[in-house]
Assembly symmetry: C2
Homo-oligomer: 207 residues x 2
């Protein structure tokens, strides 16, 4: 079994976490999924829903796949060395580390994205990219696959990224089946990004 | 403040719950949101993520809006009289009761959907509609707004339904802002339903 650990922190964005977990968590035959946070127990999202972290950073097993959501909490956690240390350790061990929304801004604080191509959410682009001055930020992208690190744009983009990672790891049929089962209109093109244009990050005429 | 209660049960579908809650939970100025289940405490989704129910059926306050997700657990709960009684009571008090996916099949067991127009998920259509023989089931619909009861198709359809209800209660601007913030390509047309065609519920030529 391949293992996936999703990292929670106070004021994470609910759908950043739950969108990809809907996809990964449904792959019961091939994937063990669990949750981890600084302390085990309930963690409150910005949307006022509490999700349980099964493991603390100290007791978490190693994971093949890591998922880091974003949200308002990313900016409160930017100097949390316990979290940044955990992200460094987990990234070193993992095959693929995924982020959603401002999760890439938080991950970039740990240094592991330096020199890598990455994207982040488009509504708070400047605030996010300032967190990682050595990252090669890509302004127009639903998600960016840089091999070990796969980063996605805001909130809903995490579902498209998750399906792309499912396709890469488990095949196109597995990803298509998930999209059909969840009645999700999957954006399969990582360059599809109307929100980059909406927020003026690329000229309208380029699209 | 308007209140919303989301009803959890074992083996609920994570995104059925979390997609709409992303939208509703972000409306902090106008909406109190919380969770309720037979017993307060963690409830495990089919995707192996535990969400905390803040209230039990016995201690839950009254809600203006009610959200019932679907998932495999709906079929285990079909004869759970405590749950069905709670759904009857909550429906009587609420202004709007929303379901996602097979949540409408479960709600129909309580009788409150009798004579109403409703939809449900398309992959398990026959199994779902059999639960409510007196419901006027609509096979081709992303969601159906029957006034008090708003029912949506499978999993992802809950996000479109939630935005439609946000538009109805709080205005089109509020709904558009949420879609933009979450970088969600909102399907605004309740008749948009490629999955009904995919599963052979309507002739291909009709679309």
């Amino acid at each position: 079994m391949i293992s996936l650990g999703a990292v929670l922190f106070p004021n994470f964005e609910l759908l950043d976490f739950a969108g990809p977990m809907e996809m990964f968590g449904s792959l019961k035959d091939v994937l063990d999924v669990t949750t981890v946070a600084q302390d085990a127990g309930p963690v409150r999202s910005t949307q006022r829903v509490d999700v349980v972290a099964a493991h603390s950073f100290d007791t978490a097993p190693e994971f093949d796949l890591v998922l880091l959501p974003g949200g308002w909490g990313t900016f409160d956690e930017r100097d949390n060395e316990q979290l940044l240390d955990y992200l460094r350790r987990a990234s070193e061990r993992a095959e693929i580390v995924m982020t959603v929304c401002s999760g890439s801004a938080l991950l970039s604080r740990s240094g592991v994205l330096d020199g890598r191509r990455a994207t982040t959410n488009k509504a708070f682009w400047k605030q996010c990219v300032a967190e990682g001055p050595k990252v090669n930020w890509v302004p127009e992208a639903r998600w960016v696959d840089d091999g070990k690190f796969v980063t996605s744009s805001g909130v809903s983009a995490g579902m498209d990224m998750a399906l792309a990672v499912v396709q890469r790891k488990f095949g196109a049929d597995a990803a298509s089946r998930l999209a059909t089962m969840t009645e999700y209109e999957w954006h399969r093109d990582p360059a599809w990004d109307p929100f980059a244009k909406l927020h003026g990050l690329v000229p309208e005429t380029e699209g």
